[in-house]
């Protein structure tokens, strides 16, 4: 590939991603409204789609206030980290054959590393705000994300064993015959749960817990800095959905009547919808219950899954 082609892919991915993240404002609000027996935004433009524009404009023009008691530079840095780390993760996702920003042979590890960085944005944002609610949110966020980091990493190791590669293109290719969701159902479920916890969406939105901590770690943020957390969250959902599709649902693979890239997006949107449905239906567990659930149920489960997968892989080999 030429340099120009690379640049076009990078710009294309960035363009599509940012638009999806913004578009999710509308998608989420319309879907929630549908499930909650109400209308949702339906005034601006066809089906209310221009709410995206209105919301973005609003965020840009709101006063970008930095509280005088905050730690200024860290306060500014925190929202940048979340967007940065999520965007970096997209680098390794193969959208279709040939459409990938960086074909890394340790792609999966890179993804795990980048999503671990996300926790810094919560902790630093909560700490720099110098607000008690933000601090509580940050502490909750830190312990939740560190706990679920572990299971997320372990849950995909079964996939790595089966495909014998950390490269995501190889992983997709290895699902030519059968999707890994069939051979790794436990891995899929745990990865998805960990993914919800990583993106701290309801039911695991414990760091922000609207009815308890108001907005938790980003309580003091306004304007576009808040917008960054907002966009970061939507991109996080997209990322986890895209990763789920790549690792367990055959990535771009699908019957030939649709182009591969469309298959990829369709599957991803299915999982984005699932994220929103979860938000519409489930209550929030308590913070210690979530952590306990992680360490006492998910960790043993994921380890057993790993052992069984390993044993079967060895048995098949011999």
């Amino acid at each position: 590939m030429t340099v120009m082609q690379h640049i076009w892919i990078v710009l294309g991915v960035l363009f599509v991603l940012l638009n999806i993240a913004a578009g999710l404002i509308w998608v989420e609000r319309r879907l929630l409204a549908m499930w909650q027996d109400r209308l949702g935004p339906n005034r601006a433009g066809p089906l209310g789609i221009f709410i995206v524009l209105a919301d973005t404009l609003k965020l840009f023009f709101k006063e970008d206030w930095i509280p005088p008691f905050a730690d200024k530079w860290v306060f500014i840095l925190a929202p940048a980290i979340v967007v940065g780390s999520v965007l970096m993760s997209f680098v390794i996702i193969p959208f279709a054959p040939g459409i990938v920003v960086a074909d890394l042979n340790i792609g999966l590890l890179f993804f795990l590393a980048m999503s671990s960085l996300g926790v810094y944005s919560i902790v630093l944002g909560g700490w720099a705000s110098n607000n008690k609610y933000a601090l509580l949110g940050a502490l909750r966020g830190a312990s939740q994300m560190i706990a679920y980091e572990v299971f997320m990493g372990l849950s995909v190791m079964g996939v790595v064993m089966l495909s014998r590669s950390f490269n995501l293109i190889d992983i997709v290719a290895a699902q030519e015959n059968v999707w890994f969701v069939v051979t790794q159902p436990v891995g899929f479920v745990i990865f998805f749960i960990a993914g919800i916890a990583e993106t701290h969406r309801l039911p695991f939105d414990i760091p922000e817990a609207e009815s308890e901590l108001i907005a938790g770690f980003h309580a003091e943020y306004s304007g576009m800095k808040f917008g960054m957390f907002f966009i970061g969250e939507y991109m996080g959902i997209t990322l986890i959905s895209a990763m789920t599709v790549t690792m367990f649902f055959g990535g771009w693979l699908g019957p030939a009547f649709l182009p591969p890239v469309l298959w990829f997006f369709l599957k991803t949107f299915f999982f984005i919808g699932l994220f929103i449905l979860l938000r519409a239906s489930l209550p929030r567990p308590r913070y210690d219950q979530l952590i306990e659930y992680g360490w006492k149920i998910l960790l043993p489960l994921v380890l057993v899954n790993l052992l069984v997968t390993g044993a079967i892989a060895l048995w098949l080999k011999s």
Binding site: R38, A209, E210, S211, L213, P283, R286
Partner: protein, 578 residues
Amino acid sequence: MQDANSILGHLQYRFGNDAFQQQPTVDGILTLWVGKDSIVSIIQHLKSSHPFLYDLCGIDERDRARKENMPPADFSVVYHLFSFKQNEFIRLKVALFGEYPTLPSITSIFKNANWYEREVFDMFGIRFDGHPYLKRILMPTTWKGHPLRKEHPARATEMGPFQYWDEKDDIEQEALRFKPEEWGMQQHSDDADFMFLNIGPQHPGTHGVLRIILQLDGEEIVDAVPEIGFHHRGAEKMGERQSWHTYIPYTDRVDYLGGVMNNLAYLLSVEQMAGIKVPDRVKVIRVMLCELFRINSHLVWFGTFAQDLGQLSPVFYMFTQREKIFDIIEAICGDRMHPNWFRIGGVAQDLPNGWEVLVKEFVDHFPKELKQYNNMVLRNSLIKARTKGIGIYTLEEAIEWGVTGPGLRACGFEWDFRKKRPYSGYEMFDFDIPIAQNGDCYDRSVVRVEEMRQSLRIIEQCLKNMPAGSYKADHPLTTPPIKKHTMQDIETLITHFLNVSWGPVIPPGEAMSCIEATKGANSYYLISDGNTMSYRTRIRTPSFPHMQMVPYISKGYTVADLLSILGSVDYVLADIDR
């Protein structure tokens, strides 16, 4: 009266004949004046038979004209004790003299006396010796004067222009600062500093302007201090300047989710004093409306409770359902939340044509919906994990703290004032009292959901058996009176004219009614001095003692649990602050 006499005899035997002076009251509650030196020992003694401090309030007696059958007094403090076993109230009064009198505190006997005594101090300037923390509770600490004293103005126009300059802003801000030392709280334990977290007055989880200050060790609640009074609108003071009739709309807004149920509590007292017996049709209409409002209030609770626990959707379904009930209420009363629809001696208008269709549609439709809601919320395992075993209190603790309503029934005690002390014709209806055993957040919720089903049963019976007859009592004090004969009969014309222009003159006396409101026992203790306005209006609301109990039941739990507890207590800020 047999019981009442035997109690009086028993008390006289124990404390001597001279220790008591009996005052006859319209409501038939045994009312005894006792000396301020013996009040503590008498209440201590009575606690074995009357273990429930129902209410405690003050009265400024200085302007009272009709003081027959009562000893002279400048102020008095009134204790309402209740016995579940004998199902009766006893009212003790202490006469006090002087500008700012004192009397001994009973906080060592009843835990819930604490806030009540603070309220009396706040409103009258009466001091209680031995009270652990006698500070203002409803008024701002910077307030001058004690509002329920007769010399305190009731209208802003009597008080001179209100000014708020910068320095005053600083003073008010400083007064709101929480100082843990004042509450006897440690700033740090042996190995860690405590965090003091201010929840409210603006917080999505408090459902109103309530401030709770938490002393936190990590996320664990060491202690909590609710600060109330942000919603205080002087409902009791307003009772002293509104005519008996024009006070009705104010009652609507006390428990603002209870709507006309507040009217009922107030009117039962007024009608007792006026000696009005309402026709059966009025009773049944009132019961039907009250039960519709009970379902409404519980639906709001149900939705917001789920929302507090992070479940976003139920509140929308429940509010949709609530709108359907409001449609019925609007068709009947002409308004939704605060219809102000009951009148002295009746209701404002007869039921509209076709009301049966609306109610029938709802009665047929609602059980299915309710079942869905129940599956969605209470059968959800995450909700169970968040509420089971959280915020537990035992029956003894509930009685000690003055808990009534679903919170009491969740402790396994089958006590419902509609059943045990029927009013407004509840004895004619067939319904059960739902109870639960554990007294935790989950059980309180289960009881409320079951109560909605029972309310529905009552509404169904109202629908099937609505008596014919007048929607107003044929009594001169009925307001506004029946107008039919005004053009033929001078007596009726005069009564009509007076009741509409002045408002009715209620004969002198005292009466208290007690109803099972949406959140617990609600009472209006009214004193008439033979005037067009009440001399003293005391509103006993259920949320007040419930909120007082919150610190006690939330200790040792986490911040997230506090939200479950607050949700399950189901309070309304206006019901706390009045």
